[in-house]
Amino acid sequence: MAAHLKKRVYEEFSKVVQQQQEEIATKKLRLTKPSKSAALHIDLCKATSPADALQYLLQFARKPVEAESVEGVVRILLEHYYKENDPSVRLKIASLLGLLSKTAGFSPDCIMDDAINILQNEKSHQVLAQLLDTLLAIGTKLPENQAIQMRLVDVACKHLTDTSHGVRNKCLQLLGNLGSLEKSVTKDGEGLAVRDVQKIIGDYFSDQDPRVRTAAIKAMLQLHERGLKLHQTIYNQACKLLSDDYEQVRSAAVQLIWVVSQLYPESIVPIPSSNEEIRLVDDAFGKICHMVSDGSWVVRVQAAKLLGSMEQVSSHFLEQTLDKKLMSDLRRKRTAHERAKELYSSGEFSSGRKWGDDAPKEEIDTGAVNLIESGACGAFVHGLEDEMYEVRIAAVEALCMLAQSSPSFAEKCLDFLVDMFNDEIEEVRLQSIHTMRKISNNITLREDQLDTVLAVLEDSSRDIREALHELLCCTNVSTKEGIHLALVELLKNLTKYPTDRDSIWKCLKFLGSRHPTLVLPLVPELLSTHPFFDTAEPDMDDPAYIAVLVLIFNAAKTCPTMPALFSDHTFRHYAYLRDSLSHLVPALRLPGRKLVSSAVSANITPHEDPSHQFLQQSLERVYSLQHLDPQGTQELLELTIRDLQRLGELQSELAGVADFSATYLRCQLLLIKALQEKLWNVAAPLYLKQSDLASAAAKQIMEETYKMEFMYSGVENKQVVIIHHMRLQAKALQLIVTARTTRGVDPLFGMCEKFLQEVDFFQRCFIADLPHLQDSFVDKLLDLMPRLMTSKPVEVVKIVQTMLRQSTFLHLPLPEQIHKASATIIEPAGESDNPLRFTSGLVVALDVDATLEHVQDPQSTVKVQVLYPDGQAQMIHPKPADFRNPGPGRHRLITQVYLSHTAWTEPCQVEVRLLLAYNSNSRIPKSPWIEGGEVSSQVETSIEGTIPFSKSVKVYIMPKPARR
């Protein structure tokens, strides 16, 4: 391709370059069509043994086939199929037929007859199964053609009696995917007896092979997924399968029962061996609950998961899942939960100190105790105690979903969830904390439960602690003792893990604002004020004291009587904190003070917002003044950039937009400055040195455009065009500068050609947007393109230069939502004076903890860079699992970086920072033209690079020489 272009530079070409190129491309396609099938034909004829033929087929399967040539290929394959004696080759051909019929743009109805035909003569079971698979592929490609579907269903029914399980499996699959029940089909389907697909599939529920049974259930589920209404009669059949010997059957049966229960929740089913009747959904619920204690954990997981989505179950049944009637020596015993509750309500706190405290009380009527109930008894108790953590997690999730829909159940399951906070697997603990958070609207924690919850604050895992803080943010606490307890535990947490500071403050903020009345009586104690004496003023820098103040101030917001309890220094501290931690401390209506007028009410729409107006105005000013004298433009640009930057600092919600536009303006400013340079007026050879400025500007513009393109989330296509345009200008600048500073024509050749390719590429990518770029640099350039193609490099440079000077300043439309990606490294804090010592040649692991904001797909883009004092830089790709997603737009990177170096004489600092890697290919809209695997040979479009987007942190390290 490159050679081809090169030729074009010299040749005289008419104006229709593009069209001609396209013609060539289509021609090429037409050429390949016969050749591909022909080659295959020749290969297959050449093949002397089945093994050879198989090899050819395998090779053939590696390459895709165009839609146009599929039919030819299929014919050849079929032809060979009839001749072939070896089943393995036939198998491969059958599978190829299936693959080919999936090709987009190919309508496979023409090969169906052949496929059905060869099916009838086939003896090998494996090939039969594969052929049925092919038919399935064909059938799914033609969902509208009822007649074909009917025919295929017929074929499937015919082969259902095959002795091989594989064939029966495929038949059932086919029925599940294509079978229909609609009566309207019977009229136009000529003579084909309509079959009751459900009945046919249902008959195979009792097949002798478990795989076929599974396939039958799956087919039934498939029917349901395709929108056919299943009969209620299969419920009983499915229930029988619950006691199947094979786990995959049971697992599928559980699903089927669930589906039926969702379809007919209100039907009445009889309870066997009694005269009573219950709702079907309740019965199904009971059955699935029973499966939570199945022998196979796969089934248990399945059952536990499905329980969560059965919302229509009566509450009576639901609550049984948490009930496991305890007994000891045939006497009824209360559970520990009940005991705790009783103690709590009787006013006595915690005990269990006496032996026999849990001594059983009432006698149980032996006849009434039902050890394995048909009902739902204790399903969750079992699920939460299961050996496999997968089951436990599924159970916790199910609890969560059920509790969200039923407040009374939420109240009941609380004890169990709290217990899960002590699970041995961290994932389960985390999951149950999250679950609790989700249902926190429905619940109020009792003091003893709160106690258990708070105990987890000491957990050494940061994730757990933070999840717990989030939970506390939205919990309801019932008493003031509870609040006090929570505060005390949080402060304890703060002293034990100082890094949790921000999270704890945030947690207290919400805790305060949720419970103002409970905080009120605690205020004197918390501030340690005394009715008569002044107490010492606490240290303002103490994080614990700040934590207390955050709690109080947030409570005071809705409790006007509270500030009366404050002492003088509290007010001073308030003013200080309101300023320094404005996101944590709300504006208060304080006696004798004006309400701080920061209250920009949230109901102002962004366009009425004065700061947003200001932004708009200043930008418009710039865009309208593009034809002023260069000096004035420069000044105005500088001024606006400064304004925007300041605005971004002040108004965090506008920071993204402001920064984005400021960057763009800066690029423009640089471009203008570079073009103002005097060097353009003087003869080239004299300016070797001064040209630094211009080339530096070009380089910087490039960098900035990459930043604009990849560091902001929410950038739309119209911005991308402008950014690319700016980059193109920078490249033009680069071209001119190098043209002026280098001697000789040879290097220029390459550069010009590259630049023209660049322009070409731009045009191709953004062809739809070109009308918006009236009068721009690229617009003019494209007008002159034919001339440029044929001109000598020196001329090209000249043309480009004049056009660059004449080009106008493009208006950058502002996107709706734009956010700058940013990262803050929390750990290492970079404050330590103690060097990290390790033996040289070995590695030391450095924990890195950072929060990332507005980074899209951080798993692939965020890298960690370590810079050693000797200038050596090391790039580390964190594992995908190191990223967590605590909220929308936010990510958290917790990873370990391995450092190593040869021995140093004294400790020194290494720098750690985060980089955003980009790949220019990813953003460019794929034009249909590029399809077909030739992208790599195109203009080198993919430019990979990295943008640093966090402050670097210094870490003190000391590799010691190894001792011998």
């Binding site: 007994m327 045939l330 559970t335 520990a336 032996w355 105790v369 108790v381 217990d419 105990a455 895992s461």
Partner: protein, 600 residues
Amino acid sequence: MPEIRVTPLGAGQDVGRSCILVSIGGKNVMLDCGMHMGFNDDRRFPDFSYITRNGRLTDFLDCVIISHFHLDHCGALPYFSEMVGYDGPIYMTHPTQAICPILLEDYRKIAVDKKGEANFFTSQMIKDCMKKVVAVHLHQTVQVDDELEIKAYYAGHVLGAAMFQIKVGSESVVYTGDYNMTPDRHLGAAWIDKCRPNLLITESTYATTIRDSKRCRERDFLKKVHEAVERGGKVLIPVFALGRAQELCILLETFWERMNLKAPIYFSTGLTEKANHYYKLFITWTNQKIRKTFVQRNMFEFKHIKAFDRAFADNPGPMVVFATPGMLHAGQSLQIFRKWAGNEKNMVIMPGYCVQGTVGHKILSGQRKLEMEGRQVLEVKMQVEYMSFSAHADAKGIMQLVGQAEPENVLLVHGEAKKMEFLKQKIEQEFRVSCYMPANGETVTLPTSPSIPVGISLGLLKREMAQGLLPDAKKPRLLHGTLIMKDSNFRLVSSEQALKELGLAEHQLRFTCRVHLHDPRKEQETAMRVYSHLKSVLKEHCVQHLPDGSVTVESILIQAAAHSEDPGTKVLLVSWTYQDEELGSHLTSLLKKGLPQAAS
């Protein structure tokens, strides 16, 4: 009539001295060989003389199976094999094989050295006995001899505990040993597949109890320890060396790890250290968490738990100490208890049941002043807590296991008679299977109807399959073939093959039958009418009219002839071979009804 006989020598309506004899399919197996904690005389061991009055045990027993290493399941083993005399194989799992001798040696020491018993087994005997052990893996089918095979399933309870399936031909028995259906901190839950044994012998220690969630217990335990340690108090946990001790260690260890606690935890040394070593080794026998994390760290390589030294008891500051024995009746735990009892900040947690008369029992029942030896009075100011950690399946668990295995009969052992009664009634009610609970020495006999496998030749099967529809489980199918019994195996083959194999010539057996028809017309016409009639009735069969005037239906021949006396009556001669009996009789009955009146 084949039968399975079960006789408990110990553990029949009783806890302790587990020893059950099973005769199945002509094989005799002894399950477990335990001692009784409650006795110090002859009753301590099972009465092996019951097995054979005179004669060697080895001749009578095909194998011995030990379910786990607790002494009430293996304590009598050296006595049985070395002193009574048994040389056959003893099967147990690998962990049991490793830990068993340690416990036996300990038991021997206490009996001989402390109590001064004579005529007890020696260390050498333990060694010799262990040489007869064959170790098995989980789910490994071991062929004891040609017919008898055994297979181990995971049972929870303690490290290496297993349930055993004993199988002879198609008859099988499952013996559970002790098992636990709820997983704990170091072991998983018992599991068995749907093996549908003829008999399930299950323990029933907690036949009448349904236990609370283990999480409450764990949380309580941790909370208590944590509070005491935070107060600066010392916590004493008396334990027996193996089993629960490891669970509590893991529990505390992970808690310490999670909560970043610094207070030291000690474990009194001795036999525990050796045992802990095996716990580290047999990771595959532990629960999911330990198995998954052991790549990073073996959970039994305790970080926070260190060996205890006598001097540590006087150290200031908080600490947690695990000390033996578990009932505070003697030894290190009692010594530490005496030192710490005076301080109300301290705490003692009893993790299990205490026998009456022990210090443990006294303090649990609320006694605050204890008389020690030498008339000393010890005032107990420390807190006393009771936590029940037990590793047996509760009633619900037992029912769950019965449900999983789907046995034909259940037999309860290892429990109290009164409680068994309740469970027995429940099992019979829920599962509709018969349930037995024999006392020691009482024999239960179960008649079995073993299925006899018959081989069928593939050709015959395929031929039959081709003839009709797929086999339907609900409908019986008729199949023609010849059963050959030869060298105690059975084969079903086609008759031609049978003839060929046995070298016999085939005899044709033909039935003929005459049917009188009243028909004045000629023979040919009669035949024609018969033909058209049959043709219309028997649509599925091939009906032909042969040129010689006879009619054939498949291979059945019908000839019409005039009656010698009455020309108005025609005689139809119907003849069919033995193989076509069904069709032939159908045809005759059809013809006997007469022909329909012809239209003419």
